[in-house]
């Protein structure tokens, strides 16, 4: 019994010592002359290919102000995620609680974006700037006062496509095939909203499970009496779908989601020619033939960095530039819980390389959207032709689920 008491005293002594040591090392080490920006980027996982493009966009924006605002140095602390909400939340907590960042820049994917937007309510002292995550509900459902998105959601990325499909191309009946998750829901929802309003009808829809990577059963199930097929697929899935569309003899014009016919898909070695020609698509990135002074300058900057315009580099730059423009406007003053900074951000207006940007009341951007068509380049390959720049595309109030008929978007 005695021995026990002694050892307990010893423990208390040790504990007290550790306690004292902890208190000495505890104070936060925030230097006065810096602004700390935590940067979440999904460099591991399904978007590992696109993630570095956001960094290129961010770096171009930083270079333009020499990484300094009113004498304060901007410090970027990057954390890698794997595009899952779970890891994004953990890394965000680390950046905020351990590294004590002032601003959180990110995340990349829509699923992460929703989780981070909800988390932002827990940290009212930090300003959150989304990079490329495009889920609607991050801003149009219970919006958070300190969460900003300087680009459109996935529904806005379809702005103008439905109208052109009906009015210009004369498609009356369309069937949808799209991956079964939130991004294609919103993307297809945006398309269907415009298309149905113009007078068209959605006659059928197929929602293959994410990761199916085999669309043949769905291709077989598509009805024959339609004018066109809306395909909301991207990346390798898009290549797979287009390849199978050729193999299985699907002979219908296509309407692409925002990522169906981007550069990687058109450049793939697979045999997709018959399926992809004349496809129309819309998205936040203009096609090659688009040219304005702002866009040409930006293209040159991207070229110097070894890349070109794509969803990640464009949205990454626009978001970063908006974040920094706000800091410049308030001369780096983040006092009073960043009130002045947030006020500037919520009324920000500027001419981005991809058209004029302004903000709505939910702190989501009102932007331009681009519609283009795939044509032959005359040498056996493909080129794109601009059809229209739809300006002032604003976010709707809906969070789209599966769109099976026009009634789902009313």
């Amino acid at each position: 019994m005695k021995a026990q008491r002694i050892s307990r005293t010893a423990i208390v002594g040790v504990v007290a010592g550790v306690l004292a040591a902890g208190l000495v090392t505890a104070p936060s080490s925030q230097a006065a002359g810096t602004i700390k920006i935590g940067y979440l980027n999904a460099t591991i996982g399904p978007f590992a290919g696109g993630a570095p493009q956001i960094t290129i966009g961010l770096n171009i924006a930083l270079k333009e102000i020499k990484s300094t605002v009113a004498g304060k140095k901007i410090v970027i602390l990057e954390e890698a995620t794997d595009a899952t909400p779970q890891l994004a939340l953990e890394k965000a907590k680390k950046l905020i609680e351990k590294d004590k960042v002032d601003i959180l820049f990110g995340p990349l994917s829509g699923d992460e974006g929703v989780a981070i937007a909800r988390l932002s309510k827990k940290y009212p002292k930090v300003t959150f700037i989304n990079t490329t995550g495009s889920a609607s509900e991050a801003t149009n459902q219970s919006p958070s006062k300190n969460f900003f998105r300087f680009h459109g959601d996935a529904a806005q990325w379809s702005g103008g496509v439905g109208e052109i499909a009906y009015k210009t191309l004369g498609y009356k009946k369309v069937a949808i095939i799209a991956d079964d998750y939130s991004f294609p829901y919103a993307n297809a929802g945006g398309f269907a909203t415009g298309f149905c309003k113009a007078g068209g009808t959605i006659v059928a829809a197929q929602w293959p499970a994410l990761g199916t990577k085999d669309y043949s059963s769905q291709i077989a199930a598509l009805p024959k009496d339609v004018d066109a097929i809306y395909a909301g697929l991207g990346g390798a899935d898009a290549v797979q779908f287009l390849k199978q569309a050729v193999q299985f003899g699907l002979k219908k014009p296509l309407i692409g989601g925002a990522i169906l016919v981007d550069g990687t898909v058109l450049g793939s070695k697979a045999d997709i020619g018959d399926a992809v020609l004349n496809t129309i698509a819309g998205g936040p990135v203009p096609d090659d033939s688009y040219s304005t002074p702002e866009y040409d300058k930006f293209k040159a900057q991207l070229k110097a960095a070894g890349t070109g315009p794509n969803i990640f580099s464009v949205l990454g730059y626009n978001s970063a530039k908006s974040m920094l423009a706000g800091l410049v406007a308030v001369k780096g003053d983040l006092s009073n819980n960043q009130a002045a900074y947030r006020k500037v951000l919520s009324t920000l207006k500027w001419n981005t390389p991809t058209g004029p940007l302004s903000m709505d009341k939910n702190r989501n951007a009102i932007v331009s959207n681009f519609i283009y068509q795939v044509v032959s380049d005359g040498k056996g390959g493909f080129a794109t032709k601009s059809l229209k720049r739809q300006d002032k595309v604003a976010q709707g109030t809906k969070v789209f689920g599966r769109v099976n008929t026009c009634a789902d978007v009313k």
């Binding site: 399904p46 499970a209 059963s217 390798a236 797979q240 299985f248 697979a270």
Partner: protein, 287 residues
């Protein structure tokens, strides 16, 4: 009707692929009692290797051979370096292979990134067969995969039950000391089995990487498919793998085609139902 026929064809050809994938797993387990939970990661690695070689040489067959042989060598190394010492501790070996899958998945992610890949099929089998009366056609490469699976199935069966080597293998598994006493090097036999099983999954990865795209996460998918196939069919039986592949492939495709929301659950319910009546699987031996 069109959808029904297509779904059935898809299920059947997919079953062929599942057979190729799971046969290596069941071969190794059936003969050595070693369960390789890095099997999905092996499949994915083979996909990357064969894609790389096929891309460099512009020849699908070189890619497939490279995928199969690389995995054969890699699998043998894993066995010799990490597993052999504990071969008779089933659970420990299974856990080590799970660790291998974790490391392998991260290594592949670091090297190949998160993008999806797909190998182009060889010109000679890249055509579509028109299906009369439906106005649609079916890609021949998928039928080719089914034919390959049947060839491998027959080959394995003949090898194990009809040849002298097969007899040695079966005997070596049943009674190691006895066979050693006959002057046969049992350790060498085991190495060859592991090599053969890994070659099979390597070949499956090369073929599967041509019919379907692959990338991060594919390892988990195919580990799940293989487990479903061998659990349903019965671990250690080639015939069981054939039955399991057929059920998982065809029922899985019908579920995906008609009830996409519950596709995972339907396959899973089938598994539970079969196990409720036959815990050892349809053709499995009683434990």
């Amino acid at each position: 009707m069109t959808q029904f026929i297509f779904t059935f064809l898809n299920g059947l050809t997919l079953a062929g692929l599942y057979f190729l994938v799971a046969s290596g797993l069941t071969l190794i387990f059936g003969l050595m009692r070693v369960i390789n939970l890095a099997h999905g990661a092996f499949y994915l690695l083979a996909g990357y290797v064969s894609w790389t070689i096929a891309d460099k040489t512009d020849n699908w067959f070189y890619g497939a051979v490279a995928g199969a042989l690389t995995l054969g060598v890699f699998g043998t190394l894993v066995y010799v370096l990490l597993l052999r010492k504990f071969q008779y501790e089933e659970l420990r070996v299974a856990l080590i292979t799970l660790g291998v899958s974790l490391v392998l998945a991260q290594a592949m992610l670091a090297i190949f990134g998160g993008d999806y890949y797909q190998t182009n099929s060889p010109e000679s089998v890249s055509f579509s067969v028109p299906i009369p009366g439906l106005g649609l056609s079916y890609p021949f490469f998928r039928i080719f995969v089914l034919i390959l699976a049947i060839i491998v199935a027959v080959g394995l069966w003949v090898f194990i039950s009809k040849t002298r080597y097969g007899a040695i293998i079966r005997a070596g598994v049943d009674d190691t000391t006895m066979v050693s006493a006959l002057g046969i090097n049992v350790q060498a036999v085991f190495i060859w089995i592991f090599f053969l099983g890994s070659v099979l999954v390597g070949f499956a990865g090369s073929v599967g990487g041509t019919t379907n795209s692959f990338g991060m996460g594919t390892d988990g998918d195919y580990l799940l498919f293989s487990l479903q196939v061998v659990i349903i069919g019965g671990l250690g039986s080639i015939g069981g793998v054939a039955i399991g592949s057929f059920l998982v492939g065809v029922i899985g495709q019908f579920a995906t085609g008609y009830y996409p929301t519950f596709a995972g659950i339907i396959t899973f319910a089938m598994l539970i139902l079969i196990l409720a009546f036959r815990p050892q699987g349809i053709l499995g031996k009683k434990q």
